[in-house]
C-alpha cells in the first residue's frame, strides 16, 4: 500500500484515516493485507515508505499482516517477516498463523496465498487442524490474492483450496488485497453458488497504491468501488458482524450487518 508517492498517492491519507478511527476505538486491531511496501518489500522500502505512514507506533503496534506477492520479491520475503515480527506475521518458513480474538469471540486466521496451498500442502494441513481446534466459532480469514475479483488480476484459482476448507469449517469472512479496489461479495460457496451461510469475501486493496478500474463483472459481487482510497472497518460480535467501507474523507460508502451464519449456530448447538 505504501511506496513512492507518485504511484502510491493514497497511503498517507488512509493512514491518517486509521489514526482517526482508532481514537474512537482504542482496542481496534489493524489487518494489513500484503504488498505493504512497494515495489519489492525491501528493508529500505519499509523504512522510507511504510514507516512514515502506516508504520507510526500507534498503528504498527496493533497491526497483524499477511504477505503479498511484492513482499516475495525479496528472498523469502524476509524483510516483511522481520518488520512485523513472528507474532504479527509468522516467519519465512511458517508464514501463516492464527489467533483468538477473545473480546469479539472470533478466530482470526492469516494465510499465505503466495506459497503452495494445494490439497496436500503443509499450509492446508495446518489450516484444517487449526480450524478444528479453534476456541471461538466465527472465523475471519485474511490472505493477499483474492479467489474472485472484478478488477485488476480478476480471479485466481489457487486459493480455492483455502476457501474449500474455510467453507467446510463454516467461516464467515475472508479479506483480500492484491487488486487495487474495494469489492464486497455476497456469501457464497467455493463454487460460486450463492449461499446465505457461505463465506463473504471482501477485497480491500485501497490502502494507498494507485487504483485500478473494473475489468469484468463477477457473479455475486454486491458492491464495488474503483475510485476511492479507504479502509474497511469491521465490528465483530459473537453473533454478528458489521462492515463499513470508509473513504479517506470519512464518508461511509458501503455498510451492512450480517448475523453469523445459521449453519454455525446449528453446528454449535449439536
Amino acid at each position: 500500500m505504501c511506496g513512492p508517492p507518485r504511484k502510491n498517492p493514497g497511503a498517507a491519507a488512509t493512514a491518517a484515516l486509521a489514526q482517526r478511527l482508532i481514537r474512537d476505538h482504542p482496542d481496534a486491531m489493524i489487518l494489513a493485507l500484503g504488498d505493504n511496501a512497494y515495489n519489492s518489500g525491501r528493508v529500505d522500502e519499509y523504512r522510507e515508505h511504510y514507516e512514515p505512514t502506516w508504520g507510526h507506533p500507534d498503528l504498527l503496534g496493533r497491526t497483524w499482516s499477511c504477505p503479498g506477492n511484492h513482499d516475495y520479491r525479496t528472498a523469502a520475503a524476509a524483510p516483511y517477516f522481520a518488520y512485523f515480527g513472528e507474532a504479527r506475521a509468522g516467519t519465512p518458513r511458517r508464514s501463516y498463523y492464527s489467533l483468538p480474538l477473545a473480546g469479539a469471540g472470533w478466530h482470526l486466521v492469516s494465510l499465505n496465498s503466495e506459497i503452495e496451498q494445494d490439497a496436500h500442502s503443509t499450509q492446508l494441513r495446518w489450516l484444517r487442524a487449526d480450524l478444528a481446534e479453534r476456541r471461538f466459532a466465527p472465523v475471519l480469514a485474511i490472505w493477499h490474492r483474492p479467489r474472485w475479483g472484478s478488477g485488476a488480476h480478476r480471479d485466481s484459482k489457487k486459493p480455492r483450496w483455502l476457501l474449500n476448507e474455510l467453507y467446510e469449517a463454516r467461516a464467515e469472512v475472508v479479506l483480500n488485497g492484491h487488486a487495487h479496489h474495494y469489492e464486497r461479495f455476497a456469501p457464497q460457496r467455493p463454487d460460486q453458488i450463492p449461499d446465505p451461510a457461505g463465506v463473504r469475501q471482501f477485497i480491500v486493496g485501497t490502502g494507498g497504491r494507485r487504483l485500478h478500474g473494473r475489468t469484468k463483472d463477477t457473479p455475486n459481487s454486491e458492491y464495488a468501488r474503483f475510485d476511492q482510497f479507504g479502509l474497511l472497518k469491521l465490528t465483530l460480535r459473537p453473533d454478528a458482524y458489521r462492515w463499513e467501507f470508509i473513504a479517506v474523507d470519512d464518508r461511509v460508502l458501503d455498510t451492512g450487518l450480517q448475523p453469523v451464519n445459521q449453519r454455525e449456530r446449528e453446528w454449535i448447538s449439536l
Binding site: 518458513r93 503466495e114 488480476h153
Partner: protein, 117 residues
Amino acid sequence: MDITLTLSDDERHACRRAAALLRALSTGLADIATRHESDTCAGYAATLDRIVASGECCAVSPDGKIDVEQASFILEGIRDGLDNADLDEGADFIQRDIERLNDIVFRYNSAAGKAVG
C-alpha cells in the same frame, strides 16, 4: 538464491507460449519506439526460454522468478484485452497459462521459505 524446481509439461508449455507472446509484444513495442518496454519484455521472454530449455528440472534465480511473475501480469493484460474484444477462447487459453506461471512462482516462494527459515 537459486531454487531448483521440477516443472510439469503444462508449466513448460505455458512458459513457451508466454515467451512467444512476449517476443511478439517486444517486437511491436520496438516498432512504436518504446525501447525500454520492448527490451524488458524481451528479457522476460528470454527468461522463460531458459526455463523451457532446462527441461524438467530447472534452476530458477530470484530475478528469474520475478520475471515469471511479471510475464504473468503482462499476460493478464492480454487476456483482458482479448476478453473485452469477445475473443473468449484466446482469453481462456491465456488464463490457463497465467495459472501455470503462477504455480511456478508459488513453488519457488515455498522452497525459498524453507531454505531461509
